[in-house]
């Protein structure tokens, strides 16, 4: 939150997670909601009133029903329950975010740590390559890649991952370079540890905090990008209940059947909001120096 809170928690004896969350009500709320979203995604088949409607089921007698107790979010042009579809959409969005961020970390972090710790030519070449990727707004490059691939959730995930890893390479590189300069790494070398062992056992673990913070802050961004790709038709395809696609499909009817657009879009907004708040909160607590997010 604010610097004062940080100073307090620095001076206080290392508290439990509970004290940490009590001091940061916003972070606590975001963490609880994030957990709730993950649970909703995991247990979607148990919670959804009409699980079959997440697929290509049709109910010709129930088309365009407005929201009611029976259909909380109304029904779509072929009679599918929108609540079930939006609920299943949570699975897709969270899974895409998890895969993109995991891939970006697996590719970006080792490269970045190697560049930061080794320096020299390796460092220069890697940084120029990331410069090039970062010269594109993420949405733009992901769109360009996705538009030349066959549209699907998998290919959209690949396209976003291709644009996302350089951020992690950059972050890990900066962190590793500063860790590598510290005395305990010099003593590792003096003790005769191999460079590989020094990197893996000592530089890497000490570079991870900002990466964890970035990963939680990025969930919202990835979900927004994936929804944008689907909205433009280069991501998920019918009958996948992806949120961006649902908004796109509802667009034709939204002046009269407002629920078709409103609920899936609100789901995107709320999910991105929760994870952005979570990322901001974690950053304030764990990483006071990096105050500002990326543009």
């Amino acid at each position: 939150m604010s610097d004062t809170v940080l100073v307090d928690s620095d001076l206080a004896p290392p508290g439990s997670v509970v004290t940490l969350l009590r001091r940061n009500p916003l972070l606590a709320a975001a963490a609880a909601l994030g957990l709730l979203l993950v649970l909703l995604a995991l247990f979607a088949p148990l919670i959804a009133p009409h699980p079959a409607d997440a697929g290509s089921a049709t109910h010709p007698l129930d088309t365009f029903l407005p929201p009611s107790l029976h259909h909380l979010f109304g029904t779509d042009p072929v009679g599918r329950d929108m609540f079930s579809r939006v609920l299943y959409g949570t699975r897709i969005s969270l899974a895409v975010a998890a895969v993109v961020i995991a891939l970006s970390i697996v590719v970006g972090v080792p490269l970045g740590v190697a560049a930061g710790a080794l320096g020299g030519v390796v460092d220069t070449v890697l940084m120029r390559i990331t410069d090039i990727f970062l010269a594109f707004p993420a949405l733009l490059l992901a769109l360009a890649f996705a538009s030349v691939l066959t549209p699907s959730v998998t290919n959209a995930t690949i396209a976003i991952s291709v644009t996302w890893w350089p951020w992690y390479a950059r972050l890990a590189r900066g962190q590793a370079a500063s860790v590598a300069g510290r005395p305990f790494i010099a003593s590792c070398r003096a003790l005769g540890l191999s460079p590989a062992r020094t990197l893996l056992r000592h530089v890497l673990p000490n570079s991870l905090t900002p990466i964890i913070v970035q990963a939680s802050a990025d969930v919202g961004g990835v979900i927004l990008t994936a929804a944008a790709l689907s909205f433009l038709g280069v991501g998920a395809q019918d009958p996948t209940p992806e949120w961006g696609l649902l908004v796109n499909q509802g667009q034709a009817y939204f002046t009269t059947q407002w629920w078709l657009v409103t609920f899936p879009g609100a789901a995107i907004l709320l999910t991105a909001l929760v994870f952005n708040l979570l990322g901001d909160g974690l950053r304030d607590v764990l990483d006071p120096r990096r105050v500002v997010g990326r543009a």
Binding site: S2, T4, L143, A144, F145, V247, L273
Partner: protein
């Protein structure tokens, strides 16, 4: 100044070269065989061979890259499949509308974000701070295409307040014909004193500009807050406070000014982001800029057009970054030493 300028420009050129190569990969390498999509599914082997030759695909890869490079530099960006016009001239006619929209949106984002960030920093931890930070997170988390549709629903469908389609009322073309200079209705009508078109263009701009402004507004508010809080911790501000200056003076004269530098650079960064964001917004508002051009190109798998827009925005981005770095080095001599 000069060594810095040379170094920074050289770096910019390396990035531009890399950007061109990356777009080449997207246009020619990723899609598999562009020749087969060029001739269609029912072509004979001979036709396919001929297409490969016409497209230069039978040449070694370095030659292909060199030709692509030469085309980009000499203004041959290929022909758009849907419009049958050179991509570069398509971009030329479409860019002004997007620049008008994004320019208006960034002004709006600055007008809202800078005071909001200051307010949050002044009352850090109190209600205004919490409110601003929540609003900023909302702006950053907003799916712009959905925001556009919701605003249309509220302001057009329900309240009948604002127009939602096009850049100005086309009915005015007969009564008050607009003389075009820069292809931005707002600017054109202002220079030629065409007030009916000017007011029409202004009302048409409101909703799309608000949608595009949401993201940069949130980013700028956070940036201002963080930068002002940073400078407040510096020695010169503590000195001014110790000397007994009023808190208002401390903010206005000593804390805000050094904080403006990062704000300028983040504004340049979000400029290109907002250009890409118009892909999601322009088609909804029937705004004839790059965004609706790109969205249409994506729908019809028009690779030359998609790659052209991508390259264009990336170049704008690199240029904006270069300009900001040079401007900041001119303003702040410490930067040159890094």
């Amino acid at each position: 100044m000069t060594p810095f300028l040379v170094r920074r420009t050289a770096h910019g050129l390396v990035v531009v070269a890399g950007v061109v190569i990356l777009t080449f990969v997207i246009a020619r390498v990723v899609p598999g065989d562009p020749a087969s999509s060029w001739v269609g599914p029912h072509a004979s082997a001979a036709q396919l061979r001929a297409a490969r030759h016409t497209l230069g695909l039978d040449r070694p890869l370095p030659v292909q890259i060199w030709r692509y490079f030469r085309g980009v530099v000499t203004g041959d960006w290929g022909v758009a499949i849907t419009t049958h016009r050179p991509v570069l001239s398509d971009l030329g006619t479409r860019a002004p509308a997007s620049l008008e929209l994004v320019g208006a949106a960034l002004l709006l984002a600055l007008a809202a974000g800078v005071p909001a960030g200051l307010l949050a920093a002044r009352w850090r931890g109190a209600a205004p701070d919490l409110l601003v930070r929540l609003a900023a997170v909302f702006g950053v988390s907003m799916p712009s295409f959905w925001f556009a549709l919701i605003l249309q629903l509220v302001f057009f469908q329900r309240l009948h307040l604002l127009p939602v389609s096009g850049q100005y009322d086309p009915a005015l073309d007969t009564t008050h014909p607009l003389s075009t200079h820069v292809h931005m209705p707002l600017v054109d009508s202002l220079v030629s004193g065409n007030w009916p078109v000017f007011t029409s263009a202004l009302t048409h701009l409101v909703l799309p500009a608000i949608v595009v402004a949401a993201y940069p507004g949130g980013i700028i508010a956070r940036m201002v807050r963080a930068a002002v809080l940073d400078t407040l911790g510096e020695d010169h501000v503590r000195m001014v406070r110790a000397l007994g200056f009023a808190e208002r003076t401390v903010f206005a004269r000593y804390a805000l000014k050094p904080a403006l530098n990062p704000v300028v650079s983040v504004t340049a960064l979000v400029f290109a982001y907002s250009l890409a964001n118009t892909f999601l917004v322009e088609a909804i508002f029937d705004w004839g800029g790059l965004g609706s051009y790109a969205a249409a190109a994506i729908q019809s798998l028009d690779t030359p057009a998609i790659v052209g827009v991508t390259l264009f925005i990336a170049l704008v981005y690199v240029a904006a970054n270069l300009a900001v770095d040079i401007a900041q080095a001119a303003l702040d001599p410490r930067i040159k030493l890094r």
